[in-house]
């Protein structure tokens, strides 16, 4: 019993991380049809800069972590918005080229990060409490999982509130449904594009700082590893669906943890098999609309 509880909660923690990356991907794809390969780079740069700032202010304390998170969110949002403004927008409506530009950006940025911070992982300090465990139903759960879950829930809630309660949220939701109609109504969708990129980047940025807490290190390849799982999550959940991304994040991560434990570390393979199964049964994903 305690093993199952441990695996479920650990899976939820990992799922939280996947969700932070996948939510941005999914929103960006839903509104703009852009597959953003640079999303992992947003995450990595935020993790690095967040770590650099947090470490200088006070290493291994809550203040330092909070500051890292704040810096990570800001950096993610700014970098993403700039990417959209400088690169994506020039290739209006040319989805393949847009994806290609983000591919180039991801290759170049990872190389740059390696140049600046080196190829070896940099180990980070975290507040003592996060390194300890809490016993729930006999299972010793590492405390950082709770932080991850809480943050992902906050982000999910925040994005849902933003989409439901604000004017921009309304435009974005309408844009996901039918962009040409929104444009025809005389609304400038392009500003919402930048906004969606900024929100996605901010979520990825927070994800980057939390990933460095979860893994205990920052490295130039942090983003690319998570990005592939985020892609899988986005496809399983249904492209463009935020709820789908949330559900699929949890499913994928919990499945991965169970397979890693009970099936001899085959978590990654099981996830791909799950993807194949979803495609066979329901090609549009769990919550996806009919294409």
């Amino acid at each position: 019993m305690s093993t199952i509880v441990l695996l479920v909660i650990t899976g939820l923690g990992l799922g939280a991380l996947y969700f932070l990356v996948a939510s941005g991907l999914s929103l960006i794809y839903g509104l703009m049809g852009v597959l953003n390969f640079a999303h992992g780079s947003f995450l990595t740069i935020s993790a690095f800069l967040g770590w650099e700032v947090g470490r200088r202010v006070s290493d291994g304390t809550w203040w330092g972590l909070a500051l890292s998170a704040l810096v990570g969110v800001a950096v993610g949002a700014i970098v993403a918005a700039l990417t959209e403004y400088l690169l994506i927008r020039r290739l209006y409506e040319r989805h393949i080229e847009q994806a290609l530009v983000t591919v180039g950006l991801s290759l170049a940025s990872v190389a740059l990060f390696e140049g600046i911070w080196g190829t070896d992982p940099i180990y980070t300090e975290k507040p003592d409490w996060l390194g300890q465990t809490t016993v729930i139903l006999g299972a010793k759960i590492p405390n950082d999982r709770f932080l991850l879950i809480a943050c992902a829930l906050l982000v999910l809630g925040g994005i849902v509130l933003f989409l439901r309660k604000t004017r921009y949220g309304l435009i974005i939701r309408a844009g996901v449904e039918n962009r040409s109609m929104v444009t025809a109504l005389g609304i400038d969708v392009r500003r919402s594009f930048t906004l969606v990129f900024a929100i996605g980047g901010a979520a990825a940025g927070l994800g980057g700082v939390l990933a460095s807490v979860y893994y205990g290190y920052v490295s130039a390849h942090l983003g690319s590893t998570l990005l592939i799982f985020a892609f899988i999550v986005t496809v399983i959940g249904g492209l463009g669906s935020l709820t789908g991304a949330a559900i699929a994040s949890v499913l994928v991560a919990v499945l991965q943890q169970f397979a890693n434990f009970y099936l001899g570390g085959t978590g990654d393979l099981v996830v791909v098999i799950a993807l194949a199964a979803v495609l066979l049964i329901r090609p549009r994903g769990l919550m996806g609309k009919v294409a």
Binding site: E93, L100, A108, A111, G115, S224, V235, D268, V272, L279
Partner: protein, 390 residues
């Protein structure tokens, strides 16, 4: 090797609205095809005698063309060109943006290595084992391609890209996991030379491996040309432009796309086998998503609309990558301040940036340059009009 009448000519043919000019046009294009075929054959012949000559291009090649180091580099460039050519067939011809092409290249390299190993204890003549291993690897590649293709083609566009990526990732994970000690994990697989013909082993025989690589490139080129000129190739092209219309006239695009996917993947496996022999081993790097992305960069840099673009892209990229790495280690770079030194010492940073610039400002790639200069057109001729910048 300089056939490029393909896309450009078809567009021109389609544009010819006056039927009376058709006969002369056909005669002219026939003559052109003939000249291009002769030119291509001459180029292949020149490449074939290169190991016997002593041509030195300082700054581009590490030494004269008969030295093993240069031949090794050129052979590697040709295998990458062959791989890029197979990738272009999928992406450029059928419009299938796959992010998992590396899977099949790795399947060829690792497949041959593992089968050779598996057959090694058997007491058959070594030529039989060598050829048998190649056949087994091809069959495995075919089965893998058919499975992955059939699944991935259930979705289209960007989802297709992600699904192929996921499968390639699974392959990459398996290779790095080193199941049963078969793939060598992060260390890579080293070729067991017991049953490899002596002529393909050792530094002194680099020349033979160079010819093998050239053979692979010519073979892949001819297969790609054949597929593109076939009925299936035309349907694939039509599907890329407008899938709905293809369906309306009663053709199932799924089958054609699957065919193109399988042929391209098996060709990638062929290039992978050449790679294993050339490098006498395989490293897990060739199975990563980054490797596929590199292929994409090569094809787009070279020019998606042209077959020879993939070849030029593959060769230019490999030489550039090699030279940039050498440049990164040079004293001139080391003396620069950090702001310049760090970006300039990362070849991938330069290539990535170059790639972004090509996508933004040079949609035809390198191969599109002559056309662009001649006509002064901003758009690549194969691109639809509606893609004009907004």
């Amino acid at each position: 090797m300089t056939h490029r009448q393909g896309t450009a000519q078809q567009t021109a043919d389609a544009a010819a609205s006056v039927p009376t000019t058709a006969p002369t046009r056909t005669a002219a294009s026939d003559r052109r095809t003939l000249w291009l075929a002769i030119g291509g054959a001459a180029l292949v012949a020149l490449l074939a005698v290169l190991p016997l000559l002593a041509i030195d291009i300082p700054g581009v090649l590490p030494g004269p063309t008969y030295t093993p180091g240069t031949l090794q580099l050129l052979a590697y460039a040709m295998l990458i060109a062959a791989l890029a050519l197979s990738y272009r067939m999928m992406f450029g011809l059928a419009g299938l943006l796959s992010f998992g092409h590396a899977l099949f290249f790795a399947a060829g390299a690792y497949g041959l290595g593992i089968t050779l190993d598996a057959f090694a204890p058997v007491d058959w003549p070594s030529e039989l084992i060598f050829l048998g291993s190649i056949v087994v690897t091809l069959v495995l590649g075919l089965v893998l391609a058919a499975t992955v293709g059939a699944l991935a083609l259930r979705v289209t566009g960007i989802s297709f890209a992600m699904v192929t990526l996921a499968f390639a990732q699974a392959g990459s994970v398996i290779i790095r996991r080193n199941p049963g000690g078969a793939t060598g994990g992060d260390e890579g697989l080293s070729l067991d030379i017991t049953n490899v013909p002596d002529a393909l082993v050792g530094v002194l025989n680099t020349r033979n491996l160079y010819w093998v690589a050239l053979g692979v490139l010519v073979f892949v080129y001819l297969v790609v040309l054949w597929v593109e000129k076939s009925r299936a190739g035309h349907v694939a092209e039509a599907t890329r432009e407008n899938e709905l219309r293809v369906r309306v006239i009663g053709i199932r695009p799924y089958n054609v796309k699957l065919l193109v996917f399988i042929v391209a993947s098996v060709l990638a496996a062929v290039a992978g086998m050449g790679y294993l022999l050339l490098q006498s081993g395989a490293s897990p790097r060739v199975a990563t998503a980054d490797f596929t992305l590199t292929l994409l960069v090569i094809v787009v840099l070279g020019g998606v609309g042209y077959r020879w673009g993939a070849i030029v892209g593959g060769i230019v990229y490999t030489l550039l990558d090699q030279r940039l790495t050498a440049l990164a280690g040079s004293d001139a770079i080391a003396a620069l301040p950090d702001v310049l030194r760090i970006p300039l010492s990362e070849p991938l940073f330069i290539l990535g940036t170059l790639f972004i610039l090509v996508v933004l400002f040079l949609p035809g790639g390198i191969a599109g340059l002559p056309q662009r200069i001649r006509t002064g057109r901003k758009q690549h001729p194969a691109e639809a009009e509606e893609t004009a910048d907004a």
